[in-house]
Symmetry: C2
Subunit: 156 residues, 2 copies
Amino acid sequence: MVAGPLPAPSGPGKDRLRLWVRLLRASRSIEAELRERLRQEFNTTLPRFDVMAALYRAPEGMLMSDLSRFLLVSNGNVTGIVDRLVSEGLVARARRNGDRRTSMVRLTEEGSKTFAVIAAAHESWIGELLGNVSEDEARRLTGMLNSFRSNWEGRE
Amino acid sequence: MVAGPLPAPSGPGKDRLRLWVRLLRASRSIEAELRERLRQEFNTTLPRFDVMAALYRAPEGMLMSDLSRFLLVSNGNVTGIVDRLVSEGLVARARRNGDRRTSMVRLTEEGSKTFAVIAAAHESWIGELLGNVSEDEARRLTGMLNSFRSNWEGRE
DNA sequence: GCAAATTATTTCAAGCTTGAAGTTTCATAA
DNA sequence: TTATGAAACTTCAAGCTTGAAATAATTTGC
């Protein structure tokens, strides 16, 4: 990935390839910047933020497998991140709810407060980092990105 | 990141936030699919592919720091990936070139042949995964992505 | 020349990530 | 019942990733 801008190849399919390369470089750049700021300002990480963001939207809690599906990461991965959030007191596992295999995961009160602060900063960072995109352009881009999502979504 | 489609919040900056979420989900989905195929079909990984792609475009070789800068990953990271590629015989380090701190890294002949095969498959996968995007639309999207890159690029 | 700063790289610990294998629990049905 | 299969998680090894510290080599300023 991240093949570069130098030779500018042409041919059938090259435009899609170039699009993919740009897409990847864009998201990697932004991710890197966000990761850095989360670390510096809040001493946390992107995966923790992702998990907390998902849980913030689900006050009733989520199953581990819900989290895994929603965040597009593996089951085992979520286990580790939630473990760390639990040890930080930001998240709690609630066993017992009929099915003893599952555990409802939710933000603690502290987790919820902490997340609200971080999320506000996060949103303003995005506004800054995507400052060159007008709100109107953002809507159009979002629509275009949406359109080609269906092509592979729900495959695996 | 990867906050979801459910509540659809609004307000200033929300469109940029939504754009970022879509961008991230799109690239993660595609990355996951590519990773899976690289593993299944070629028994390799995305980071290895990235390094080989960079080197393929630089027959004269690249410094470790060039690779790191180009791929947007840390120095230490490149060391590990190149180590593995070297042990697989796909890449070679050539010390001695005036400055004894540096090492020119380049594809071996086998590495070059191997990469050509994988790259062909990779390009056709992209064509397939981005099949919903017309070539024309791809060019426009690429342009838009390009436009907001300058905003943070060259920061760190 | 030579100390100090800079540059290129590696090493390291901690955390993220995956896919596969293992555990526990639940559901089904013979 | 009870086995057998499926589902929800966890564990694990291997690899990726980062930022910081350590090494080594070069360059700069005096």
